[in-house]
Amino acid sequence: MSYKYIGKSYNRPDAISKVTGKAQYLDDIRLPGMLHAAILRPEHAHARIISIDTSEAEKMPGVVKVVTGKGCDLHYGDNIKDLVPMAVDKVRYIGEPVAAVVADTTFNAQKAVEKIRVEYEPLPVYIDARDAMSEDAVLIHEENGNYWHLPTLNPQSGTNVANLYRLKKGLGKDGFSEAEVVVEGDFLYPLGSCSAIEPHGSIVWFKEDNTIEAWSSSICPFIIRQDLAYSYGIPESDVRVHIPDIGGCFGYKSDITVEQTIAYIASFVPGYPVKWVASRKEDFTSTLLGHGTRMIMKIGAKKDGKLVAMETKVLHSGGAYADTAVNVTIASTHNCTGPYEFDHCDLSGYTVYTNTPPVGAYRGYGHQEAQFATERLMDILARKLGMDSLELREMNYLCEGKINSLGEKMWRTNGDVKACAEKVRNLVFSKEIIHEDENFFYGRGFAALMKSPKGAPFSTKGCYMKMNIDGSISINMGGAEVGQGLRTVVQQIAGEALQIPPERIRVYNDIDTQYSPYEWQTIGSMFTTQGGRAIIRAADKLIMILKQTAAQVLKTDVDYLDYDGEYVFLKNDPSIRVAVPELSRGYITSDGITIGEVAQSVSDARLPRYSNPDQNGQGSLGVEYTFGAQAAEIRIEKKSGKIFVDHFASTFDVGQVINPMQIRGSVMGGVLMAIGATLYEKVEFDQDGKITNPHFFKYHLPTYKEAPQQTVDFIENPGTVGPFGARGIGEHPVIGPAPAILNAIYDAIGIDFFEIPVTPEIIKKALATKHQKEYA
């Protein structure tokens, strides 16, 4: 299919403002009368609060108000209302808000916060789910089970298990009776940080007219609006949320994070906007972390390699509040089959309260943690069967007609994982093997992957489209631009749908819940698919309005007319026509009477037939699956144990590439982020629950020199949901790197690792042990 504007690299509409320093991020906003907040964090990760003395803080210069959680009865959350804006009688993690100071400047607020004295009675601290699940563990939430929660959740009262999700397919565990070979392993994808370079921040303003106005570095303005309206008992229409430019999200700016805390603080100083921006340390300790996922996985197969059964237990260290963690656990559970069909599945996911910052979304969540285990076990199974690991995979791919763990049938239009794997095989495995030399071991590893869609019953995305008097177009949507380039994609899709050049389409900049159409939240790699569909539906409506007006002008029926972006004309005689701009505000006749409607439209789009899980944990996520394959070529330095990723190849069946430059950028950034998780990044805790590396010089993000050469390739089997057949791509690149690199490590040195990050120290130790054994 050939397109006019799709599949070409248009430049981003926000490129100039970002390169000139004029893009406005949260911390760049200045409002009249604005005050600044600083927040006190506890000295213990789990403790009762005995007393708080704010008297010294109140005397400090510039202080307007000191706030504590005393008497606060607010609980919030989308899935489980277990969150509180400020600790009331107990702290549950080291970054929890205990008290706050509002002052004229940030500096004065911080100085005053240091004067607050708190007395605590420490409680036992649990970092790992297994410890929090032990029978004698103290309850982190005595109220577990009594909080409001979604009807699909299953909290275990009287324990630290916030939710237990079970999925059974076929015979479940009994399916292993058909297996001839079994492999198993215990895999850990530890706690990590999304670490956008822009930290979290919010401004909240309680106004004298009983409305609330807020700004946040968030991708969920409509959730924030709904949540604040609920908490403060006012109509949603009286809460207005703005989203400025966002300096990266990668997951942890979704859902509601810091906004309720800042709102609570601001509610004590009505009339004044209150700003708070996280320090980097607070961005680690006091927002959301990612992962924390232990996968205990068992796979059964026939001797010929046909997979038959899978049993997986997901032990998820979900942090001190489970509202966002439950989704991570559930996704890790049903996505853990990876891109393979198993006739029988017994999968269980435990979301466990622990004394760490709450776990929430992290780019790709539920996929990379789960398929890390699957893709490592596929290599281990291949070795056990004496098969080529790519051939073993190929026998079992979820292709047309196969049924996934949730019971959904795969269609041809879900894409072709085999073709992706074949491309990657040619890119990496057709090369000659490099043998160990004096300084290095060499290896290469493969991972196939599956990405499920992310939906909810009301997970819609909207589009407002209006034609201006000169025929140019203005578009408003609720999709948050976090860097992924969605505004370019909007321009291109609208251009194609309306047959109007993207240069004549101006796309919204900030989101404002008063003016932007409703969007659930910009998550799950769903914007191009769902938002793009909404654009096409809005464009179809707008074109129909133009045709209806033109039908009156040209004195004919609508179905005799055609449209090409410039004119509406008679199908059988294009010379009988009316120019599109003349129809944009209705058509003004020669005597001044206007006929027809203004050319503007509104639309939305959701996933087809999304449904909640049934009693077996099965359901429909809404059709739109995506597949891909990735591979790593690595080098391990013998002296240091350091791993160098020399080349990383990725291929995804994305249906249709919208913007080649942007999609390549998305993939390369995602791959490097996951290389960071595989080799460097882990949020470390001491036994008291303190984070020991909440800074970039200790929590190492991959730098320029650590970036591998990348090959990025796509297959385009159009889907049925997204615009022009396009599927999502935002999260997919992070899924394969960890297993591909660990499979490559085995290829290089014959050692299996089950945990990331694999640091030089770990490699050196493992090599020494291996050496010892070989000579024993």
């Binding site: 320093g21 991020y25 911390d27 370079i197 860097g483 950034g669 990348q710």
Partner: protein, 160 residues
Amino acid sequence: MVEKISFTINGQLRVMEVDPEMMLIDVIRDVLNLTGTKRGCDNATCGTCTVVINGKATKSCNTPISKIAGAEILTVEGLARGKELHPIQKSISESGAIQCGFCTPGIVMELYGLLENKPDASELEISNSLNKHLCRCTGYEPIKDGALMAQKLMQDRNKN
């Protein structure tokens, strides 16, 4: 305690009374309202606060204001001439180097400090400079492409 201090920023002479302990980033952002210079970490690791002081790319988050008396400072707002972008801005905006844009001002100023002083900088020198900056979005390759494009544009400009 405040001290009178004067310096030039983006070609304008500024005289102000400030606490000499203040860091340059706070003066730039909060006193002068030049919000293009960003803060991304607590201890001079991420590089997004980089500005050019007397021709040299420098992190503004750990530079006390007292050290810049009499200095010439350039921030990202000072590069374009009206609507005409500096070659580094033009290249970085077209090479795919921009996603969220939060690291961009620091990288632009880093490259300015390098390439205006040394238009023939080697690829190693360019990579040493870029290695001081964290970017979470791009995987760095498009930033390298932008830097090399900028270098070429600047070499051409300098010939004319």
